[in-house]
């Protein structure tokens, strides 16, 4: 039981990080039809901005705020300069965002170097809770809580405010939204900025989870985020939360139980787990091509 709980909490923490990264990707795709391949580099930048501010100030919260703001600014600039001239040209967008991602990734190497960066423990969040056989890192609980808070905050923004109403309408039918007098370009800019801020926050939260930052930490995260978004339904906000939950938990449960019951060595079990995750994805997509909570494609329900 203790093992199961530990696995569950680890899986939930991973799910919270997947959610932060994939929610922005999904919202941006749903509203604008843009699959932003530079999204992973915002994760890395978030982690490194967090690292720089945390090392400098020792203030974890200030560092999180700085990472979020940096992500928002990078997202806004990316939309305005690189994406806006290319609406309706998806192939060019893919090339441009891929290129931008490479440049931003290299910029991290130039500024902070290629080698992994370590940092001090985070005051107040570096402990472990123990209850019988159960050991839980406080930081993982924090990550789960942070994921939940942001899930609810963005949900409230989308569900309870006029801006959210406009975003939901824009996801479904941008042309008709324009014809109601709404300047959807401003909405695009805002959502791109918000989505990028969430990715950067995801990166900032991910660094202490890994206890290290590396310039390539965004690549695998982008892949996971794409899987999460496709699984949950492109453009569906709650879909990305559900997808993140499934993939996050699967990442923890599957390798453990495979290695436990099959006697395979852990590294083989881990490969088998990835295979099973992908098979799950393919199976779900054959059953529901629009994803678990996606209404239609593209677009979908929030």
């Amino acid at each position: 039981m203790a093992t199961f709980l530990t696995l569950t909490i680890n899986g939930l923490a991973l799910a919270a990080i997947f959610f932060l990264v994939s929610a922005g990707l999904s919202l941006i795709f749903g509203l604008m039809g843009v699959l932003n391949f530079a999204h992973g580099s915002f994760v890395v930048w978030g982690a490194y901005v967090w690292l720089a501010v945390f090392n400098d100030s020792g203030n974890f919260w200030l560092a999180l705020l700085a990472a979020g703001l940096a992500g928002a600014a990078m997202g806004a600039i990316t939309e305005r300069v690189f994406i806006r001239p290319l609406y309706g040209r998806p192939q060019t967008q893919i090339l441009v965002t891929l290129g931008l991602g490479l440049v931003l990734g290299q910029a991290v190497v130039v500024i902070w170097g290629e080698s992994p960066q370590y940092f001090n423990a985070i005051p107040g969040l570096d402990g472990t809770l123990q209850h019988g056989d159960l050991y839980i890192a406080t930081y993982r609980l924090f990550v789960i809580g942070a994921g939940l808070v942001i899930l609810l905050a963005v949900w409230a923004l989308l569900r309870l405010t006029r801006i959210g109403l406009i975003v939901r309408a824009g996801v479904e039918n941008p042309t008709m939204t324009r014809a109601l007098g709404i300047n959807i370009n401003l909405v695009f800019l805002g959502v791109f900025s918000l989505g990028s801020a969430l990715a950067a926050l995801g990166g900032a939260v991910y660094a202490p989870y890994l206890s290290v930052t590396t310039p390539d930490m965004g690549q695998s995260m982008l892949l996971f985020a794409i899987v999460v978004v496709v699984l949950g339904g492109l453009g569906s906000y709650l879909g990305s939360a559900l997808g993140a939950l499934i993939i996050g938990l699967a990442q923890d449960y599957v390798p453990f139980y495979i290695s436990k019951f099959s006697m395979l060595p852990p590294n083989v079990a881990s490969s088998a787990a990835s295979l099973i995750s992908l098979a799950l994805l393919v199976g779900i997509l054959l059953w529901r091509p629009q994803g678990l909570l996606g209404l239609r494609w593209p677009g979908g329900a929030l």
Partner: protein, 235 residues
């Protein structure tokens, strides 16, 4: 035509892909009246409305509202000149509730109570206010699309084939709705294939054929021109 001109199109050309859909369309819409654009499928009626609204921009010519040039402006600016649009396939937001669809049409500084006014006009919408617009029948969705266009006071209302695909009883209801709008002095440009409906609600007509206006006049004169009806509308 007597009365003030609200909207004027002069020599409007629109290309979609490689085809020249509007080939120099010119006509005027009189203030406070209902003008009906008739014509066969593919004549360019919807393209004309979408061009005025700016959702399918015209490449040349002029589209003026009063003295202001609309052509070349983005759709949201055109909408802010108090032009409302009921598109051909209604395009209600199916993932939103009925009430949210109406709220979306409201703008900052609008007087409160506009949505209640729409509910008085269409009691069916009030009963379904918290339901998803996607769960409504075609007729109810049409009422919602029209209601959404009436949330604000309009200088011009563009309506594309409101009767398309609806049961005769709903068409009768729409006839009453459009007659009431005419009574209260709305300026309407209506695209319609249902000739009987057009004659019941229209003051003026134009016939569009292969991207050009070929006839126009007072609606009362249309019946006296059987050769025109036969040639351009196939009735």
């Amino acid at each position: 035509m007597d009365g003030e001109t609200r909207l004027a199109l002069r020599d409007v050309h629109t290309f979609i892909g490689g085809s020249h859909v509007l080939q120099g369309v010119s006509f005027v819409v009189a203030a406070g009246r209902t003008t009906v654009l008739l014509g066969r499928n593919g004549a360019g009626k919807s393209t004309t409305l979408r061009g005025i609204m700016g959702v399918l921009p015209a490449q040349s010519g002029s589209i003026t509202l009063g003295h202001e040039e609309l052509r070349g402006q983005p759709a949201h600016r055109i909408a802010r000149r108090d032009i409302a649009f009921v598109p051909e396939d209604r395009e209600v937001f199916v993932s939103l509730t009925v009430e949210e669809n109406l709220k979306l049409a409201q703008r900052r500084g609008d007087p409160p109570g506009a949505i209640e006014g729409i509910f008085q006009l269409f009691p069916d919408l009030q009963r379904a206010r918290r339901r998803s617009a996607g769960a409504m029948s075609g007729g109810q969705q049409q009422m919602l699309a029209i209601g959404r266009a009436l949330v604000r006071r309009n200088t011009l209302l563009l309506v594309d084939e409101p009767t398309k695909g609806l049961a005769p009883i709903i068409v009768q209801e729409l006839k009453a709705t459009f007659s009431a709008l005419r009574e209260r002095g709305e300026t309407i440009l209506l695209v319609e294939q249902n000739l009987e409906f057009a004659r019941a609600v229209g003051d003026f007509f134009y016939i569009l054929d292969e991207g050009r206006i070929v006839h126009g006049g007072a609606m009362s004169e249309l019946g006296a021109r059987p050769e025109v009806l036969q040639r351009y509308l196939g009735v």
